[in-house]
Symmetry: C2
Subunit: 95 residues, 2 copies
């Protein structure tokens, strides 16, 4: 359904929250209550945004947790859709 590769949420987080506020990874991680490494791997696209992390981000940056987790879902889904043809699934619905 999605037309093109959505950006990794960590990239968005960096560009929209961390950099504009001039925050370091260390400062932001401290505020979020996670380790520097946990935040670092997210910002570098090495790991995704967990539901709990989405809530943390919503508190720290006064945003909605939904938006963060939805971004992650869109990203994950696009990855999965790339292999749509490889999973042999048969139609089950009446339509």
């Amino acid at each position: 359904m999605l037309m093109h590769n959505p950006p990794h949420p960590g990239e968005v987080l960096k560009e929209l929250c961390i950099e504009p506020l001039g925050l370091t990874v260390t400062e932001a991680a401290k505020g979020l209550g996670v380790s520097r490494k946990t935040l670092s791997t997210i910002l570098n696209g090495k790991s995704g945004i967990s539901p709990e992390m989405a809530v943390r981000l919503s508190i720290a940056f006064n945003t909605s947790s939904e938006s963060w987790l939805n971004q992650q879902s869109q990203y994950d889904l696009w990855q999965a859709e790339q292999h749509r043809k490889e999973l042999h699934v048969t139609q089950l619905s009446a339509a």
Copy 2:
């Protein structure tokens, strides 16, 4: 943000897809290309809907993969929000 406990996606899957079509777990699992156990644990709320499973469901039942994964996200997020107060996070945004 969400006001009340969203249903587990497996419950929705059972009520909206499996039961209306009179499918058994075995039949549906075969069509989806997964083991009976994998589908069974989802229907019983023991495991969630993965991105790949969302794509499988979208093919088998001619629906959108987004809707399935979003349901799962809403469910996971509600669980995480219940512990919002326990994660000590400090405000970082200017607002």
